[in-house]
Amino acid sequence: MSTKSLIYVSFLPEIILGAFALLIMCVDPFLKKREKVFSTIISIFAIVVAFISNLLFLSRDASLITFNGMIYFDFYSNLLRGLFLLIGFLVSLFAFKYIEREDLFPGEFSSLLLFALIGMDLMAISANLIMTFIGLEILSMSTYILAGFKRKNLKSNESALKYFILGGVSSAILLYGISFLYGFTGTLSYRGIANVLSKGSGFIGSPLLFLGMGMILVGFGFKIALAPFHVWTPDVYEGAPTVVSGFMSVGPKAAGYAALLRIVFQIFPFTLPLWRELFVYSAILTMLIGNLGAIIQKNVKRLLGYSSIAHAGYMLLGIIAADVMGMSGIIFYLFAYLFMNLGAFGVISIFEGKGEKFVTIDDYRGIGFKYPQLTFPLSIFLLSLAGIPLTAGFVGKFVLFGAALMENHMGLVLIAILASLISVYYYLKVIVYMFMKSPIIEGEEIEVRYSGVALFSVLVCAFFVLYLGLFPSYLLNLSKEAVVFLGI
């Protein structure tokens, strides 16, 4: 392959996504109300095509930097891109019926989703901080709009506003950090910064560098909801349209981790001890706050919001371990989390009914055996989130905790185990309500309407949760191959 074509190949999935997003924007205004579904179909098609192109042009053994040093073309990019596309695919499937039920606009939704995917991709593949930042902003901006997608709904408005203001502040802090880093090294390309840092021996004590690093940590900590930058999570998840909450809980988090891994290991491998110490404290806080906060929640979406904070904390253990096992554990966990959390949000989006009426745990009383095709998968998702064996969540947690343990973080692992044991309580509570409580007024269980597409995607998620729980080796191997490119 010539260099020139390589440049485009490395960026092909994003080009495809962008082109189809534009196509949707052009086509959508001319569609009649009941033909609007067509936009969603286009977006699903776009994601599938992008996925195929990603598969066709894999870079399994070479790490190239293309586009004048802006983009990494390596297996890590490929794998993470695959993850993001999978997220987009499942979200679109869930959104299919949801948008129709809530009377929203499929055209805007699909194109924003595609743009958000582009932003996520950029975060994972970029080789330059400014590029990463642009990716982050594209993702954030699309998510702000998606969070406020139900325009008449006050909760949705509030959710978007909270996310927007806090996101604006945190990205200003992130940018300020980037500017310090620029001032210190004179470049923003990952490799360039790493070179400068590896040359200068006196950099370790340099305040400017650490200031920049700290501020970058704030920015990414906000995106992946690490304590103490997690405060927005429960409110925003509760208010946003359910499908969007599902997307927010997996998408930006995965992208944030993808970028953070690159940043930590490709820019700052020399300052790992510092990162590690900060991460240890943050991980402890994150896991405890997430799990403790979830215990008394009544709203299922809010509960999952808190739980997503906790999961961000578990994944941090992989970075703290900073070895192949920990890194591949993070990527594995991102996949596992994608299926279990998105699946859970998917089922919630089905159960809540028009106008998101049924979202408290009490509404789940006694529906267990009435809709086994939905409650069984939901139970699987929740058990997996709780880390019960034979599910993907268990394997992921085990690998992450094991990796941290191997690197002698005994106390941290103890806290992590304790936190995840606490978490079983509130996940199981939902299951208990479904299977073991009768509705407050007899016969008042919620009536559920769902489409075949939604059921299909729920079952797909459930299948993968179990599959990854039983046969995780293949994905773990892939993740290992991918993280090798981070130069651990």
Partner: protein
């Protein structure tokens, strides 16, 4: 010349502080405008002529106009509430102090050396050379951000709030 820059620097801070204490939205907006213009002057002094101009056009021109439109649309002269209690004040002043002290320390400790400045490094030609070679991809990609912004502002700003009714050309 340098005196002028110092004056503008002080002006920008004064405008910023004024933003904190003004009671009317319109006054806050005007202070922001003043602050931005002062900063633009500083940009030009630092050989960032192009960016300084952009600052004037993009910020002072369009962004501020947007703000002003919104303010006039909503409640232009109504007074807005503060939550300045003495406790809050101490809290924020201490935050200011903390940030400031830290940054002061950091910058003070950093290298003082300034590269030999050659103003030709900062020419518009040099800038566009880099922008359209190395930074071509970000330059292209940021258009997506603008696109997202357009979709967002139209979507939120659309008058018709009855979501999903028969209004067909409302993308």
């Amino acid at each position: 010349m340098e005196i002028l820059i110092y004056i503008f620097a002080i002006l920008s801070v004064l405008f910023a502080i004024n933003m904190l204490i003004q009671k009317k939205m319109i006054n806050v907006a005007l202070s922001l405008l003043g602050c931005m213009v002062s900063i633009a002057v500083l940009f030009i002094y630092l050989y960032a002529t192009f960016v300084g101009m952009l600052q004037l056009i993009v910020y002072a021109g369009s962004v501020m106009v947007l703000f002003l439109i919104i303010i006039t649309l909503l409640d232009p002269f109504g007074k807005i509430k503060y939550t300045f209690t003495s406790r809050l004040w101490t809290f924020f002043v201490s935050i200011i102090g903390l940030i400031f002290g830290l940054l002061l320390y950091v910058i003070y400790g950093s290298e003082k050396k300034v590269e030999a400045i050659n103003s030709s490094h900062f020419s518009i030609k040099a800038l566009s050379d880099r922008l359209f070679t190395i930074y071509l991809l970000p330059f292209e990609v940021i258009s997506i951000l603008i696109l997202v912004g357009i979709i967002g502002s139209i979507y939120f700003g659309k008058k018709n709030l009855t979501d999903g009714d028969e209004d067909e050309n409302n993308a």
